[in-house]
């Protein structure tokens, strides 16, 4: 099986799993093997992007903070980075990542060879749960630490 065939199969598998889970795909890019799902948790719309990526991974991610927001934290971004890395270690459901525009994501990877419904369902559900926890508990706590360490005023 060639790489593209394996990727297409993985993509179709994910689409099928999402159907089984009753999820509505709001946008799909079949060429780049990306699909977008929107979850609503406690009134918050949570965009979840799923992509089949090289060299053979299912990437599930959701944006937590925009780069603009991060760059406003001048002088205390290192505290934010440290706390995100601490959480990444402490909780398997939190794996934080940052792109080159400073956007912060929560991201989960599934090795294509390990893709099964049970694994996908577990990793998928971890994203909105972690998003909620980040917004409601983790980020306020990080802000508190930043305020304490830097004496920064947050509006």
């Amino acid at each position: 099986m060639g790489i593209s065939e394996e990727f297409s199969k993985g993509f179709e598998k994910v689409r099928f799993y999402l159907e089984l889970m009753g999820k509505k795909i709001v946008d799909i890019d079949e060429r780049n093997l990306v699909m977008l799902i929107e979850e609503v948790v406690n009134g918050d719309k949570i965009p979840i992007e799923i992509q089949i990526a090289k060299p053979g991974w299912v990437v599930i991610r959701s944006i937590l903070m925009s780069g603009d927001e991060v760059q406003k934290l001048v002088g205390s971004t290192h505290i934010l980075y440290r706390e995100l890395l601490r959480l990444s270690f402490r909780f398997p459901e939190f794996n934080f990542a940052m792109d080159d525009s400073y956007n912060i994501y929560i991201v989960h990877y599934i090795f294509l060879g390990a893709l099964s419904f049970d694994v996908f369902e577990e990793e998928y559900h971890a994203i909105p749960a972690a998003y909620q926890r980040f917004k409601n508990a983790v980020y306020p706590e990080i802000k508190r630490i930043m305020e304490e360490e830097q004496k920064i005023e947050f509006v």
């Binding site: 990437v59 971004t77 980075y81 890395l85 601490r86 990444s88 398997p92 940052m98 792109d99 090795f111």
Partner: protein, 143 residues
């Protein structure tokens, strides 16, 4: 695999892979001794709440000069984004660690090798990053 617990399966896989390891029964952990580029590393493995986890210490934050820490942490988050198989975190003692998890029900030898190898890729990536950030850029002469 009939009759074997997940913990026993990990031991079986490590034996199959010819790894040098010891079992810490008291802490329900396995310690694998790895040697890379003349340096020794310890990979810890265990099973907690339905997940097989493995971790490898890269460095202590304290060992890194303060002026480089922010950039290192930023780069680790960037690597978490760019390398699917690599995941960095910091533990409560301030150590930078690589961590991988496998859902217990998804554990097979192939998946185990994939995730375990990712730790070794990760330490290599980390060492290069550390060198790149902390090594002074050579100055051009004459100016």
């Amino acid at each position: 695999m009939l009759g074997l617990t997940t913990f026993e399966r990990i031991i079986k896989y490590l034996k199959l892979l010819g790894k040098n390891f010891e079992v810490d029964k008291k802490n329900n952990q396995i310690i694998v001794h790895e040697k890379m580029n003349g340096k020794e590393y310890r990979v810890l493995l265990g099973v907690t709440k339905g997940w097989v986890w493995m971790a490898l210490k890269c460095a202590s934050l304290e060992e890194i000069p303060e002026e480089y820490r922010g950039e290192i942490m930023f780069s680790l988050l960037r690597i978490n984004n760019d390398y699917a198989e690599v995941s960095f975190g910091i533990n409560k003692d301030g150590n930078i660690l690589l961590r991988e998890e496998i859902l217990e029900s998804a554990l097979t030898l192939d998946i185990f090798i994939e995730e375990y190898e990712a730790l070794l890729v990760g330490i290599d990536v980390f060492n290069k990053l550390l060198k790149e950030i902390t090594s002074p850029v050579p100055q051009k002469e004459g100016k």
